[in-house]
Every structure is written in C-alpha cells, then in structure tokens.
Symmetry: C3
Amino acid sequence: MISNKVQAVVLAAGKSTRFKTGRTKLLEKICGQEMILYSTRLLEALDIPTIMVVGYQKDAVIEQIQQRHQEFITFVVQEQQRGTGHAVQCAMQHLNLDPNRDLILIMNGDMPLATPDIISKLYEQHKSTGAELTFVTSHCEDTHSGYGRVITTERGLKIVEAKDFTGDASEHCWINAGIYLVNRRFLQEQITAIEKSEKTEEFYLTALIEIACNKGLTVSTITAPFDIVRGINNFQELWAAEQVKRAELIRYWMEHGVHFSVAHNVHIDLDVAIGSGSYIGCGVHLLGRTKIGKNCKINEFSSLENVTLGDYTEILSHSMVSSSTLGSNVMVGPYAHIRDNSHIGDGAYIGNFVEVTRSTIGAGTKAKHLAYLGDAEIGTAVNIGAGTVTCNYNGNTKNKTYIGDRAFIGSNNTLVAPVTIAKNAYTAAGSVITENVPEHALAIARARQVNKDNYATQLRTPAQPQIANITFVAAQKNKLSTDHL
Amino acid sequence: MISNKVQAVVLAAGKSTRFKTGRTKLLEKICGQEMILYSTRLLEALDIPTIMVVGYQKDAVIEQIQQRHQEFITFVVQEQQRGTGHAVQCAMQHLNLDPNRDLILIMNGDMPLATPDIISKLYEQHKSTGAELTFVTSHCEDTHSGYGRVITTERGLKIVEAKDFTGDASEHCWINAGIYLVNRRFLQEQITAIEKSEKTEEFYLTALIEIACNKGLTVSTITAPFDIVRGINNFQELWAAEQVKRAELIRYWMEHGVHFSVAHNVHIDLDVAIGSGSYIGCGVHLLGRTKIGKNCKINEFSSLENVTLGDYTEILSHSMVSSSTLGSNVMVGPYAHIRDNSHIGDGAYIGNFVEVTRSTIGAGTKAKHLAYLGDAEIGTAVNIGAGTVTCNYNGNTKNKTYIGDRAFIGSNNTLVAPVTIAKNAYTAAGSVITENVPEHALAIARARQVNKDNYATQLRTPAQPQIANITFVAAQKNKLSTDHL
Amino acid sequence: MISNKVQAVVLAAGKSTRFKTGRTKLLEKICGQEMILYSTRLLEALDIPTIMVVGYQKDAVIEQIQQRHQEFITFVVQEQQRGTGHAVQCAMQHLNLDPNRDLILIMNGDMPLATPDIISKLYEQHKSTGAELTFVTSHCEDTHSGYGRVITTERGLKIVEAKDFTGDASEHCWINAGIYLVNRRFLQEQITAIEKSEKTEEFYLTALIEIACNKGLTVSTITAPFDIVRGINNFQELWAAEQVKRAELIRYWMEHGVHFSVAHNVHIDLDVAIGSGSYIGCGVHLLGRTKIGKNCKINEFSSLENVTLGDYTEILSHSMVSSSTLGSNVMVGPYAHIRDNSHIGDGAYIGNFVEVTRSTIGAGTKAKHLAYLGDAEIGTAVNIGAGTVTCNYNGNTKNKTYIGDRAFIGSNNTLVAPVTIAKNAYTAAGSVITENVPEHALAIARARQVNKDNYATQLRTPAQPQIANITFVAAQKNKLSTDHL
C-alpha cells in the first residue's frame, strides 16, 4: 500500500520570478483553488505524510495551507533559494525514519494537474523494477518551457536543466516532469554528493539520476501525458492549466445531465455542484462552493459565488448572487444583485436593477424593478414597488426595516429604518415612511398635487422678452418658489 | 425526382438516457430550434411524405412537430423500445403502397446537421448501383461514440452495433451514420426476418445489411463528413453540433456584410436575419426571429430575442430586448431592458438602468436614466427624468399612463396610473403625480424645503452628552418629527 | 540602412467589394486601429517616405491617415481601379529621384500583421542576391483565399492571379503575399510594358516578375509565415487577423505580469497599457488608450475605454467606464457606468446601478446604489444615499450640483440643480432639495406621514359590495384625495 510505504517532500520555496507580480505563484488560483492546494489535497487523498519546503513568502503559503489542512504537513524553511537539491537537503532531518516508510516521493508544488493515478503508476514501476530512483517523464518539444531534458548517456540517463541546455529540444523531446520516487537510504547517502552547478550556483536534485547511473544502480521512468504534469511558471501556463482543468469539470457535469450552452467560456470552480436537468448559459461564472439544484436555469453572463439554489430556480442574465441562499422556483434578474448573507424564499421574484443585501425575503414576495433592499426582513407575498429604497444607514449606524406578510409597498417609497410596516399594510406611492405602519393601515407621506396652468410654457421659453424671462429666472432661483404652492 | 419516388421513416422513439435529464433529447434546442425539427424541416424541404415512429415522451414530441408542420407527417407509436428494427416494423403498415413511391428512406431523428445534399447523393448512388439497400457511412475512430461499425465480411458488409462491438475502433473506423435507402419490397419481406440480439434483446435494423449480403443482393454505401451525420446522444455531442451549426450561420452572415467582433462566443439562432453593414459585438445573443436592419450596432453582451430593429439603430452593451419593435436611429442602453410587446419610435433613446414593458415610446423621446416605464403610452419628443417610475400596479389591477408629445417629466417623478399628462405639460422634479395634468400646465407635488441650522452636527454626533444625544434619539424615533417642519 | 535607400508605395485604392458594406475596408478597425494605419505606422517606424495610391472613398482614407501622421505620406489618386500595375504607374511621377533612394518597396494596404522584420529580411535578400525584384511568398493551400499563385516556369517564376488561376492550389501552394522590393530604374522602364489581362482588363503589377525572368534578370523571394502576411478581403479574414493580433497583445501583457482569467475572449486594443499584478476577467474590453495601474482588478464583462486607473483600483463586473480618470483604491460596480470626463478620487466607491457623467467625485466619497450623478462636483468623504438623482436638466439648460466635503445626502433625494449643499450638511431621506443648504444644516423637504387605519383593507378588496367599492373608485380617481391628508 502506497500510503504505508511512502512519505513525500513537496518543493514550494521558489521565487515565481516569471510571474512578475511580486507575489508567490503558489497562491494563484486555478478553478478557485490555490495552486499549492492541488498538491496537498492530492497527497492527503493518498494519505501520505508530507514535508513541505517553503521559502519565498512562506508565511502566506503556510497560512493558506493550514486553513485547509490540519496535520499531515510539516513545514521546513529553505532560507535561500539554492536549488532543488538544497531544498530536499533541508527536508532530510524531518523525514520519518520508520523503516516501513522508506520511499520518498518528491514533487514540485506547482503541478496542479497531477493525478493519484500517476503517483500509483510511479510507485508500481519503482517496485517492479527494483530501482533506486524512478521519475516521471513527458514529451514536450517547446524549448521555452523551462523543463530539464532527459539525456541518454553511456551509463544510463542524466537530466540537463533548461538553464544549461543548449541542444535541440525536438531531438531531446523527453522532459523531466518533476516527480520522483527515491529510496530513502540512497537519498540520505547521496543528497550531499550533489555538486553546485557552475553556471547557476544551484544544487540540482536531478543530479541524483546521473549519480545513480554512474554507480550502476537502477533508475527507471514512467511517462505521462504532458497535460497531467505541466508545471506553472508564468501566466500563460497558468491559463493553459486552468483551461484543462475547467474542461475536465465541464465534461464531468455534462455527463451528469447539465446542459452548457457553451463549454469554452463558462467558469466553474472545483467545489461547485449542479443538479441534473439544469442549464448553464454563456459566460456564466459558478464560483466557490456554489450548489445548484435540479432543473435550474442560469442565464448568460450571470455569476454565482458561494450560493445555494433550490430546484427550478431561474437566474436571468447579467445577475450576480453571492454568499446567499435561494429557495426553489425563485426568479432572479436580469441585472439583479443579491449578496451578503441574503435569503430568498421559494417562489420569490427579485427583478431588474434590484439590490438585496443582508436581507431576508419571504416566499412569493416580489421586488421586480429598481430597488435597494438592505438590512430588511420582509415577509411572504409582499409587493415592493419600483424605485423603493430602504434607508438603512443614517451616517452613523445601520438599521433594519421590517415588512410583514402581504404588505404592499407603493412605488418610489423611501423606507427610513428602523421602521416596521406591519402585515397587510399598504403604503401610497411616493411616500417617505418614517413611522411604523400598523396592520391593515394605509400610510401616506407625500405632498398634494397642484397644476399651474400654462406655467410650462413659461419654463420652456427662457428667451421670451421681459415677463416670461423674469419669471423663468425666478423659477430657476427659487426652484418654483413655495408661494406657488 | 426524389420527391416522387421516396417516402421516409424517422426514428424518434428512443429514451435519451445518456442526457440524464428525464426529458427527451429530441426537444433540446440547437440554435434555437428543437433537434427533431431539423429532420422534419429537411424532409419537408425535399417534399418527402414521412412516418415518424415516436415513443418516449411522444405527446411532447408530437405537439412540438404539429406546431411547426401541418400535414406531411404520420405518427406511429412504438410502445416499447425494442430496437430500430422493431421501430421500422411498427411503421410498415402505414407505408404508402403507391408503386411509384417504392423507396423507403429511414433516418434517425437526432441528426440535426444532415443536409439535402447527402440525401440526394444517397438516392443517386442507390439508383446507379441498383442496390436493394444503400446507407451512409462516415469516418470516426472514437470508441465512445456509440455508432455501429461497418465490418467487411466474406459475403459483403455487416454492422456491429456499438453495444456489441469489442474490436479496435481505429481499425474499424467506418461507422454506420444511420441513414438508409431501402427498396420497399425488400424491406417488407425482410423486416420480420431480423433476429433479436442475444445481448440486448433488441431488433437491429442494421441486420438487414447482412441479410441482403447473405442473399447476394447489392448493398452500396456513400460516405459523408462526420460533421454532417453526427448524432446527438449526450450534452457534449449537443454542444459540439451546436458549435458546428453556429459557425455555419456566422460564416453566412459574415459573407453578407455583417461584422462580428468575435465569431466564437456569439449566439445566433436559425431564423435570425441581419442587414449588411451591421456590427455584432462579443457575446451578443441574437435569438428567435430577431430581424436587424442595416448599419445597426449591437454591442457586447446584449441579447435580442424576437426583436425587429430598423436601420442605424444602436444597442449599447449589456442590454436586453425581447418581443418588441424598435425603429431606426434608436439608441438603447447600456443596461436597458425592453420587453413584452413594447414599441420604440425612430430616434428615441432608452438609456441605462431603464426598463420598458408593454409600452409605446414615441419618436425622439428620451428616457436616459434609472426609470421604470410599464403600461405607458408616451408621445414624441418627451423627456422622462431620471428615477421616474410609472406606478402601473396598485395591488389589484394594472393601469395605464399616458404622456403627450413634448411633455417634460421631471426627475424622480412617481406617476400614479391611471393618469394622463397632456401634451407640452411639465412636471416638477420629485413630484408624485396622481391627477391628470392639462396641456401646457406645470404640475407640482412635493413638499417645501426647510433648512435646520446646525442640526446636521447633532445628527452626526450621537455620542455627545445630554442635549444632542436626546435630540438624536428623538430624531431616530420620530424620524425628524413633523413639529420641525 | 533601409531608411536611406528605400521609398515605399502603398496600394490603397481598391473597392472592398467582398466586405459588402458599401464602406472601404481600410477603415475597419483591428484591435482598435484602422487597418490602413498598420501599414503607415510600420513605414513610419522604418522611416521610409511613402506614396499612397488611394481611390475608393479616398477622402475618408486620407482624413484618417492625416489625423495620425503629419508629413511622410504623399497621396496619389487612382481614379479608376484598373489593377495594381496601373496603381503603381499612377505613383511613378511622385517618386523621389534621389539616386540613393533607388529601391521601391511596394505593398498592399490591407496587410495589418506585416512586421518590420519581414521588410528587413526582404531588403537583405534583395541586396545579397543583387536582384531586380524581390518579393514575399507564403504557404497557403486555400483556393478561396484570393492570392496570386507563384508558378515556376522554364525561365524562372511568374504569378497567376487568383481570378485567372484554374490549377490545383495544393500543388501550387506558394502564394504571392503582396510585398515587393524593386529597383527603381527597372520599375520605371517596365511598368508601362505590363499588358492588360484579357480576362479582367486589369494591369497586374505581378507581370513584372515574368518580364524580369524573361529578360534573364534576377528575381528572388523570401518566405514568410502566412499569419504575418495575411491580407483582409472579407469579414472572416478581418476576424482571423484580429484574433492573431489580440493573442499577440495578450501574450505580451501576460509576460509582463498581468493575469488574464481567459485569453480568448478578452478584447484589448493596441494602445492599452496594464500594470503588473493586475487581473483581467472574462470578456473584459480594454479599449482605446486605457491605462491601468498596478495590482488592479477588472472583473468579468466590464469595459474600459480611454480610461486611466491608479493602482489597486477594482472594477467589479458588468461595469462600463469611458473617457474618465479614476484614482487608486477606487471601487466601481458591479453595474456602474462612469463616463464623459468624470474624475473619481482615491478610495471612492461608485456602486451598483449608479451612473456618473461629467462629474468630479472626491476621495473617499461613496455612492453605492441606484443613483444618477450628472454635472456634479462632489467633495471628499461624502455619502450619497441610494436612489439619489441630480436634476441637471430642466428642459433648457444643464445645471451643476455642488456638494461639499463630508456632506450626507439621504436616500431617494432629488437635487434640483443649480444647487449647492455645503460642507458637513445633511439632507433628510426622500427630500427634494431646491434651495442651497448651508454648512452643518439639515435640509428636509418631504411631507409628514399619515396612517389611515384599515384603509388598506378597502384598497385590497374592490370586489366588496357598496361602500368599499365606492371608496375604491374614489381612491382610484383622486388617487387618495387630499382631504385625507
């Protein structure tokens, strides 16, 4: 059993220079998950105790990993980046000396697409060939790729690192993928035998291969498709790897009864789940831990992040929902924005240009047009008129708005929180509601209308002589002086 | 003439299990049209009378087809799905016995990309070779594809169905596409000779090929590019077929003078038409029976469904228009939403965050910002201020708003329907209009302003001692008690 | 030195018939720049004086070029489109007769992807072979491509124009790209020797190649990748060329530390610049002369055109910003629309469904929900409530709104410009502000609230007998008659 025999060393100390962001690449995300977590989740799934060699921005890397994993990783710091051989040397003293666990799996921390299968295959090959060291190779002719090249020598194999390689990459098309299985004893004896590269002053772990061959020890290899072992050294490679991962996720959901209108511009994260019979439109972003029920429809250009949806719920186009829960048969959008721990009941309708934040909306309640509902608790079967705003912030504090079941809020209402509109109450269109409204009451808070005959003509004709002109100026100045009212 | 000699049987009874939606795949859409209608429209165009064998969810399938076609299809029910041979057997008794129409074209109902050309080619080959049976083959090495494989035997050809095939698909790379032309007499005589598969207990229509060869009768084939004959058995294949169809439509419109900013993420339905000189931006969706005039511009991420546009009309980005008619030189968006049988006159401007539903907007009228216009009839050259809302719903009924030509509606107006604002009238900003406004009148319905000196200081400093604090609490409680006014 | 020896003739007179727009293709844009400017900027960078032969829609072409370039181009009109040979003949009399500048570079005006390298390589080849004429060839098997084919004859080479070519394009797979370097003396002597094509009645420039070969003069060639020399004759070719250019730009910015979430549906113009550490989401459009600072985030489906952004500024999804300047640490969106020379200060927040036009927003000011701010000058640390509208247009003129530092504008305010709200002032929610508000004052302009007990019940039940019904009708008619207030 691989889990009883192997311990792992993950190399995660490097500088990410080719990303040119001043940040470690290991925390760049692929399908919503930090790159380094692909390695740690793989090793956790295989139940292999792991030493991680960290260095560059180590605190951020360690913090991220510890958020996800409790125990199975030991961190070792490589203070200076002196090469992969030196990194492994830093890890040596932390190896478990249990004689049963005498195989050391060494892998780079930037290989997010590696699979359990390739590790198992490596292990099987190592056992069956009785090798001292087994490693993964892949076919890649791209000279700019930065991989060490596997070269056949008289005595076996050696790796020429990309920095030192001057040959023809199409001739030497097998690369060292960066995954090794080594006998612990051999590693302990030979890790210090690695000599510094004259060119780069680094100690290359790959020198072990030539050392073993020179000693007549067995070195074996397995091959892997390039997509599985691709390393990530710049943003182009990150993008390519994410494409591969995303395609894999979409294929999976297609096979589980999900209809994607296009498969090439939908963004879907690793931990998303989608019920069968659901439809995902063009450009949709499904992020974080979003869970979509059965027979839902998510239309074009909408984004869902950390959202739970019931069944038969429809998100119309150009909507954004985050950190919220929606029931079944809900209609949202287009252009709706729901966020910050909001809860939308079954059959509710949140329409266009409506923002809902930190609010609970009851079943069957409708807010279909141009509204801002913040810090509101709204009952069932409520109607929220177009243009309604909850004034939840007075410059000092955030306050709540309570609206009871079956209340009818007229259009263009201003609800000044804290305020309660009780069940079955009704507010007149255009009202500013500052006081609580009892059950079944009608609240009105607006001015009466006055029609001034022919006044429009005067407003429209500022260029007219004398009187009209004066009147216009007055109107401009006083904005229709209150005398007129 | 193919139309005089041939009758068709379309196989449309299968269960769509690999879609995993619990719905028949035949009603899944490709470029806006249900999959099964591609077959029926093809046969209608060729003027071939058709029997369709239905089974799984037959009512839904029949209803959809009858919406589109009047007469030329006869439906036959295959109660149990016992294979393609059994399906054809169900159809036998409905064949037209006219001796002139003695060729039976049999095809699967899930081949949306089949062309009239391939049917004609099949017919020509059948006639020129004097075959009993001619069928279409194509090249496909994918083992998972589910196609029967064409195998050469001592006596000619036979088909091994995918479920029974155990060989090497790259060696047996010719597949049976699922389109056959058979002499009626041979079909009538031999359809009952097909034996049940031991493995699947189904009767395979393809057994006829081996039967014919064994009898020394002529069987001939034609080959077709895989894209033309691809069947659709799961969502990945649906997506691939739609990609092919969409690319074909876009190529067509490019050749007719339409500028697509990208060709790979625009969605365009089968029955859309676009005038030359028009521009279609990234991610645009042109759906249903949308007709776009000449020299229009549809910017990125906008969707048009069942919309008619005049010439030189511009839809700015992130807009949605459905089931509406827009004139020429109209400006819409960004973020405009027009729907439900609305009509927008020439030169009108519907701007950002504006929703128009069930409304008529006159020529040259502008509603440029944040408005909801529902059930409104608005004349020409009207100005609708920002934030204006028609209150078309009072909780019981929907009511209409009428606005005459050249009226000026101030910002943040609340127009309580039913209400009429006559020609040339003017409403003051912030008004709640509840009564009709005569021509040339100015309507005002808002409170007068009062400035309370230094009151802001008190509101801002709730932590200040004694008086300020008390005042603040009072203000909070009464929301600026009306005594202050 | 190429710049001292060469003068250029650009052929830009053709009719663009295959575009079918009635407009010259030379002004169609690729990555934001008109096609013809790719040629002129290339020649300007190489410092080569240029004659451009114009014809179809020549005024528009000349105007566009003159907007960009001052001097180095001489325009020559070819009145009738009688072929490339005739076009060059039109240019002959304008050639500089400086004996040092005795090489004539001739190229088509529709080759936007041509590089300085290919011109240098052409020059080197011409010099080293001592040729009379050197031209660029490329490999292209597509018969529909419209390129002349390079044919080997007994005496050397000749070009058969696409219109005249009847052979097998895969056999004659080398095309004439349309870039020539010719000795001036040879050109002057032989340009008139070109004979009219019998088929098209055009004079082909390419006849010079056969003429030279027939005279035993040296003709040499260089080869170029097809992507570099592709000409643009219809919208499909335009799209393909833009894809190539866009991929090149994105690759460049990826290498400079910019994270693109996808590389295949981002639109980026030639003159855009992006700081390292910035993130560009799916479908983002970066247009015109947009400059993005370091560590910015531009989320999915947002568009920026001619915008300058400071560092650490975030544009949330579905936002549009144009012709404006934003500081550092600004938050914008989602669904924000900023335009027309607006300026947003450091740390400001322009939120969802907010439009800002011709306005200045101070540092730290927030307008987070549903607002229209037009012609406004707003100080620092101001809070703009949800639903606030500046009434900047009264039907005649546009007027300004001034809001001082730290002012608090309540929700659903209507600010009737011209109006000034001084520093530290406060306006009550739902107010219509028509008069200036002094510093520290609270402005209130709204009606007091009245609750009518049980009136809601009556409004809800129009079907109830007698009294309720009558009351409802009255309410409908008078919209809650003012007696009630």
